[in-house]
């Protein structure tokens, strides 16, 4: 198997172009940093776009308090290393009401701890543009997403009201009450992201690499036991298996895959040969038909 890589420079240039267009046109941008591989590539490209200056915007992390511990360690180290501004926002109201991924359906939990939290954080910061790492290859409703995705007041995404984008001209003139999500990785695939990480030697969260980790099997999915908050079913006992993650989110909602890919070359090879699409490991997307489209309409990413 061979893997084309000569298109990565083209994708990189396109993403840098998008970052610069947004920074030039919007008053107060922010980068939605979710610590995963896409955010990591996004941040790397942002640093390239404005180098030698720092990216002219802060990072925003929506912390549900259920992220893998390794993710938080990685986040804090990254911010320190590159001297970036980080805003961490948690929906404390949801937290005090005891909203959690074990006792509430994924759709309820995600809406309160992620979507509502994100809206509140964007409003509180007065941000008119938010960079996100979404890719069009992730899911069907994202396949039609724009690079500048306009949101009406209340962060609502209305598919029929999106602006046409012609050539490389990105029109960032906002209407009344509008904000925008900017997706510099629109044309990247999961395979591109990993090949780029390898090519550019970018550091990522270690959970992407296979290692023996404690897991339980639920509904055929491998769930890693990241801390003591897990509620074990009667007879359920964590066992050590060699696993890694294709995507990272809240640990109770993110399934692992068994893998021997313990370093970057092996991960690249595994991803390019993958038989299952990436979001198959995300439990929140399987809740109902058109789940992602519904979440987007409500302002999720």
């Amino acid at each position: 198997m061979t893997a084309p890589v000569s298109h990565l420079k083209l994708l990189e240039a396109e993403s840098i172009h998008i970052f610069r267009e947004a920074a030039a046109q919007f008053r107060a941008p922010v980068l939605l940093y979710s610590i995963g591989k896409d955010s990591t590539v996004l941040l790397h490209l942002a640093r390239k776009a404005f180098w030698p200056a720092k990216p002219p915007f802060p990072l925003l992390h929506i912390d549900t308090t259920w992220k893998f511990r390794d993710m938080i360690t990685f986040r804090d180290r990254t911010v320190r290393e590159f001297g970036l501004d980080l805003i961490v926002h948690t929906n404390h109201d949801g937290l005090s009401r005891g909203i959690n991924p074990f006792d509430h359906p994924p759709s309820v939990y995600t809406d309160i701890m992620k979507t509502q939290a994100l809206r509140a954080a964007l409003d509180a910061g007065g941000f008119d543009a938010a960079f996100g790492g979404a890719r069009r290859d992730e899911e069907a409703s994202r396949a039609k997403e724009r690079v500048f995705s306009f949101r009406a007041a209340g962060h609502r995404w209305e598919p029929r009201r999106q602006r046409p984008e012609m050539w490389t001209l990105l029109n960032g003139r906002l209407g009344k009450g509008e904000t925008v999500r900017v997706f510099p990785l629109s044309n990247w695939t999961e395979g591109d992201v990993w090949r780029y990480i390898a090519l550019e030697k970018i550091d990522v969260v270690p959970l992407y690499f296979a290692a023996p980790r404690p897991v339980v099997t639920r509904d055929g999915q491998l769930i890693m036991v990241d801390d003591e908050r897990i509620k074990l079913e009667p007879g359920e006992k964590p066992e050590l298996r060699k696993i890694r993650f294709r995507t990272l989110g809240c640990w109770p909602l993110t399934a692992a895959v068994e893998s021997d890919a313990s370093e970057i070359d092996a991960v690249v090879e595994e991803v390019l040969r993958a038989k299952y699409s990436e979001r198959a490991g995300r439990l929140i997307d399987h809740d109902q038909a058109g789940a992602m489209e519904m979440k987007k309409r409500e302002g999720y990413f």
Partner: protein, 488 residues
């Protein structure tokens, strides 16, 4: 394959150009079997993951199909509303790769009421796959699709003659369709047309070579797409880099942008066509280190030996062949907005990185893209293709689209709500023809702040209201025939 080997591949690649990726536009209507063709391409080139395959197989069983086992179109229809209506109304982007090349499929709707979507999708494509039904041959719609591709600058076309299985794999019919298309395509600027007989449903000549058409010796669709040369730039294209923003860091001052055409090296002379100021390139910088050359498509920052005091909107160019510093232009555009063109509304011209106020604009003709005839007109609405004339409030650097596409295209922006109302290509432009003079009324900040907007402060809400009133005042003045320039 190991990453070490991947890196080697990069190192020996001749140039960091677009050769590694091809962007395909697929045009044709639902009836021509477009979704089936794309689905077949993805399915047979192993670009569909197992869970997606299973989902499609499962969903296929829930639909009434004419004896078909797999509904490939299920791989493509994205939004819920569209799934319910069973049509494709927006542009969908798909990605797949083979060992030889990375592909982007831009799937745009074919119906006439979606001309704007097709034009939008086509503007991103390197090559168009024009699909025709072998039973019906070249239709008015085929001509319209070809014309839209030509309008937005596509230079390479694949004519996929589909459903060959339904005409008994007839070579004569295929050749006749090919000849008819080649004849009509002479009105356009395509540099390459390749016709391929296919049957998307059974998969003949899509990825797998057909055994049913031994008379066809050409490549399969995938073979052709893998080998396609997607570069369109002339070897000696003049240098252009529209400035996106100025990067400052300590003593560093770099003009950041993406090279739109040509190339540049340290020591080369550059000029800003708008101010006429020139300087030499000191360094071409990137996070990975300084570059010896920056070519079309590269996103770089250029440090100059003298400070030109220019900002976003300027186009850095070579000294000899400069862009036109134009304030009047003619263009062919596709109207994108639901709201029709209104000569009294305020518009802004968005070129590569500049946003220029339009003082007046008029439509001169509407083009019937199925007959290619033009008729004098003064109005245009959604999905119309029109010729227009635009007067700008100040000059901006631009090129003719036929000469340099990246600096010769634009979108028209509503000054009131910011929406993109049209996209166009510049066919003629001139400097100094309409310079702001006695006949243009300038609504400036001071004038407005003194009276109409005297109650407004500096808050974002007040500033938005300031702009709104300025636009409304301009609309009233234009409605009584006064050209207006807003300068706030």
């Amino acid at each position: 394959m190991h990453v070490a080997a991947l890196r080697e591949e990069v190192a020996v690649a001749p140039a960091p150009e677009a050769s590694g990726m091809a962007r395909l536009l697929t045009c044709g209507s639902v009836d021509d079997g477009k979704s089936t063709l794309i689905g077949r391409l993805l399915w047979d080139s192993a670009a569909v993951a197992e869970d997606q395959r299973a989902a499609v197989m499962h969903a296929s069983q829930n639909r009434l199909l004419n004896g078909e086992k797999v509904d490939f179109s299920l791989l493509l229809d994205g939004l819920q509303a569209e799934r319910e209506q069973g049509i494709t109304i927006d542009i969908a982007w798909r990605y797949f790769e083979t060992p030889r090349r990375r592909f982007v499929i831009i799937d745009a709707p074919g119906h006439e009421q979606y001309t704007r979507n097709m034009a939008t999708g086509a503007s991103h494509a390197d090559v168009a796959i024009l699909l025709v039904d072998a039973r019906h041959g070249v239709k008015r719609q085929t001509r319209r699709h070809a014309a839209i591709c030509d309008l937005v600058g596509i230079k390479r076309v694949v004519l996929a003659v589909n459903k060959m299985d339904l005409i008994d794999w007839s070579e004569a019919t295929f050749r006749a369709i090919e000849a008819e298309f080649r004849a009509l395509a002479q009105s356009f600027g395509f540099i390459e047309i390749v016709a391929i007989p296919v049957a998307a449903l059974p998969g003949d000549n899509v990825v797998r070579r057909s055994a049913a058409m031994p008379w066809y010796g050409g490549p399969t669709l995938l073979d052709h797409l893998e080998a396609l040369d997607v570069s369109t730039e002339r070897r000696d294209a003049p240098f252009r880099m529209p400035v996106q923003l100025v990067l400052r860091h300590g003593d560093f001052r770099g003009y950041a942008g993406t090279v739109a055409s040509g190339c540049i090296r340290p020591g080369d002379r550059l000029v800003d066509a708008r101010s006429g100021l020139g300087a030499s390139v000191r360094r071409i910088t990137a996070m990975d280190g300084n570059l010896a050359v920056a070519a079309k498509g590269d996103a770089v920052a250029i440090e100059l030996d003298t400070d030109l005091d220019i900002s976003r909107g300027a186009v850095l160019s070579e000294v000899q062949r400069r862009p036109i510093n134009a304030d009047v232009l003619e263009a062919r555009l596709v109207w994108l907005a639901e709201t029709p063109f209104d000569p009294e509304a305020g518009y802004l011209l968005r070129t590569a990185t500049d946003l220029t106020p339009v003082t007046s604009m008029s439509i001169s003709a509407l083009i019937d893209f199925e007959t290619l005839a033009s008729a004098p007109a003064h109005a245009c609405a959604a999905n119309d293709i029109a010729d227009c004339r635009v007067l700008l409030g100040r000059p901006t650097s631009l090129d003719l689209f036929s000469h340099l596409p990246a600096t010769g295209c634009f979108v028209l922006v509503s000054a009131v709500d910011g929406t993109t109302v049209a996209g166009g290509v510049i066919t003629w432009a001139q400097a100094g023809a309409s310079a702001v003079g006695d006949n243009v009324f300038v609504l400036d900040r001071e004038l407005l702040a003194r009276g109409l907007c005297s109650d407004l402060g500096d808050s974002p809400a007040d500033l938005a209201e300031f702009h709104r009133r300025a636009q409304e005042a301009a609309i009233l003045l234009r409605s009584v025939g006064i050209p207006v320039l807003i300068e706030i």
